[in-house]
């Protein structure tokens, strides 16, 4: 038996692998090579004194190349961002560390012992006209959650340099919020009500309006098919609210406190829900309202917002150490409670376990996913999440899946109501329609459409209203007028007659 593992010296039962060391080489810091290490980061040892500049450098390397509107090329010139900075703050560990780093790097006071004169002069670091911090309150739609806006405000205002911008997640359904952020430039759209019971997502007319944004949002979340869908939706709404807020306050850069660990979690979770096409956006994303995008192109800044994650190379363990050693108080993030676990929760448990046992793998996930380039062109923007949609993804879906149990009459036309499906990306469509086997929504096709009716967020209603009224200017992926190829569904007899001459007689 001992020969089977190729090691004759090992006796049966003792041929165990020696326990892998948690760090390479010695316990001395790999940077200064002088002091004893205090922290192990993915097998490398760092002392406390070298740890702080290590994290600060990673932060700056991830953020500063993207600050100037046009890149200076290999020679780094002065940093001159076009607009203000908006820091997205969730109250969690990453956000807290991010805010502290932004303050340390860009708001240092004159006379700080860390900065000297000349190139290091404190004034050199004041590259932002104004720094805002935005928090999206989600407690109104989470059971047993408490409102944290005031605590967050106090934590932010302690720094003294930031302007706090509170937003509530239900603002996504609030027309007065929409008027504020769009500056009145876009007329208020009529409400967009959609039937979630049918995969085609038909638009409904004549539905009762909700009395307030909160009840509209609560109804929307209540009718989603799975807890995973609820978690994803809150995340999507938060992100789009932050983008519009950034645009409305003249911010050219929006930064998130997504750590390396959180990034790996969200990439895997997103890919498993159909978000593979927008994986490059996790590295670099530039967004502007669609009304500005379709207007004349210009080389100067038109209000575009660059979404950046400066902590993408800083793991959760490093964030924890930073928060501890710099005595930061973490308010904490709202957890979305679910009776059954969501894809996001399961992914998080998996990756956090991985980070403890095999720390390099978490870094590998983010780096490898960052190298992926999706196949195919973008065919416009999803009206819910405002990310690029993949052209002809619905045709692909139709080819690979069984859509219904019945043999559909191929010549039957659909109802006169327009379908929202072509306006959504694959991920958002899946979020709205993908039911689990234990889903609480009725899968009975006879259920009334009104019972499954939901209102879409205000920006979605706006995109749909503008797009429907002007088919030529809309997203190419929904225009089939100049398509050369058409598709037509055949029943089984039709299919047989096509291949009959090739069939071999028994």
């Amino acid at each position: 038996m001992a020969e089977s593992c190729g090691n004759p010296a090992a006796e049966a039962g003792e041929a165990l692998m020696p326990r892998k060391r948690r760090f390479d080489r010695s316990r001395t810091c790999v940077k200064c090579k002088a002091q004893q290490g205090n922290l192990v980061i993915r097998h490398s040892v760092y002392c406390r004194d070298c740890f702080t500049p290590l994290v600060t450098t990673k932060f700056r390397q991830a953020l500063e190349p993207h600050l100037n509107h046009t890149s200076a090329g290999p020679r780094r010139g002065a940093l001159k961002p076009s607009g203000n900075l908006l820091v997205a703050f969730s109250g969690g560990l990453g956000s807290t560390v991010l805010l502290d780093l932004v303050h340390q790097v860009y708001c240092s006071k004159v006379g700080s012992i860390e900065l000297k004169g000349g190139k290091e002069h404190p004034r050199k670091n004041r590259i932002w006209r104004k720094i805002y911090v935005c928090y999206v309150e989600t407690s109104d739609v989470l059971p047993e959650a408490s409102d944290r806006t005031q605590r967050i405000r106090e934590a932010v205002e302690e720094y003294g340099e930031f302007e706090f911008v509170p937003v509530r997640v239900q603002d996504a359904f609030d027309r007065s919020w929409w008027e504020r952020v769009s500056g009145g430039s876009v007329p208020n759209p009529s409400e967009l009500s959609v039937d979630l019971s049918n995969e085609e997502l038909f638009r409904l007319s004549d539905t009762e309006a909700h009395p307030d944004p909160l009840s509209a949002l609560q109804a929307y979340l209540h009718k989603l098919p799975t807890p995973t869908a609820v978690q994803s939706t809150i995340s999507i709404l938060t992100r789009v609210l932050l983008l519009y807020t950034a645009y409305s306050i003249g911010a050219s850069h929006l930064v998130f406190g997504t750590s390396l660990t959180s990034l790996s979690i969200s990439l895997i979770s997103s890919i498993s829900q159909g978000g593979g096409f927008v994986v490059p956006q996790s590295i670099q994303e530039e967004w502007v309202p669609s009304s500005v995008e379709t207007s004349q192109k210009s080389t100067s800044w038109r209000g575009e917002v660059r979404l950046i994650r400066p902590l993408r190379e800083v793991g959760m363990k490093e964030c924890t150490a930073w928060a501890w050693w710099h005595r930061l108080v973490v308010v904490g993030k709202q957890k979305v409670p679910a009776a059954r676990q969501t894809i996001g929760d399961l992914t998080k448990d998996f990756i956090i376990g991985l980070e403890r046992d095999y720390p390099s793998t978490v870094s590998t996930i983010a780096k490898t996913v960052g190298k992926l380039a999706p196949k195919g062109d973008a065919g416009g923007r999803c009206i819910i999440c405002e990310l690029p949609t993949q052209r002809s993804v619905q045709q692909w879906k139709a080819r690979i899946s069984v859509r219904s149990f019945n043999e559909e009459d191929p010549s039957a036309t659909t109802t006169a109501a327009p379908s929202l499906t072509p306006w959504l990306c694959y991920s958002c469509h899946t979020t709205l329609t993908s039911k689990s086997s234990r889903s609480n929504t009725s899968s009975n096709p006879g259920s009334s459409a009104a019972a499954s009716a939901v209102m879409f967020p205000t920006w979605a209603a706006m995109h749909f209203a503008i797009g429907s009224s002007n088919p030529q200017a809309t997203d190419p992926h929904i225009s089939t007028a100049d398509e050369v190829w058409g598709t037509r569904k055949l029943d089984s007899n039709g299919m047989k007659s096509l291949v009959e001459e090739f069939l071999v007689d028994d």
């Binding site: 948690r22 316990r27 922290l39 560990l93 924890t320 150490a321 501890w324 973490v330 980070e355 403890r356």
Partner: protein
């Protein structure tokens, strides 16, 4: 000395499981009996179980899992990562300061 005095601190939300108290001063035996009758010096593994049995007020599954701290908890021994000190096998000394920080408050 038969007993060890230690300073224990909890951070990152873990203090909520320990009577909402961040800092604790405790005394544990210096030598402990493992399975069988062999005596060995108290180590971090012993401390984790001792904390669960004597100080933890609720939700033990958020602190301890498979005989060690749950993934996502950073342990510092005298301001140094426990991975540099041998993790659970580190033998405790008088006046050691052990910090348990949860990384899971979100973000």
């Amino acid at each position: 000395m038969a007993a060890l005095n230690l300073k224990i601190e909890f951070g990152g939300g873990l203090e909520l499981l320990f009577a909402n108290q961040r800092s604790h001063r405790i005394t544990i035996p210096r030598l402990v009996v493992q399975d069988g009758a062999t005596q060995r010096s108290a180590d971090i593994n012993f401390l984790i179980h001792w904390l669960k049995d004597n100080l933890l007020k609720e939700r033990p599954e958020l602190f301890i899992e498979n005989g060690t701290v749950r993934p996502g908890i950073l342990v510092l021994i005298n301001d140094t990562d426990w991975e540099l000190e041998g993790e659970g096998d580190y033998e405790l000394k008088e006046n050691d300061e052990i910090v348990f920080i949860s990384t899971l408050h979100g973000g």
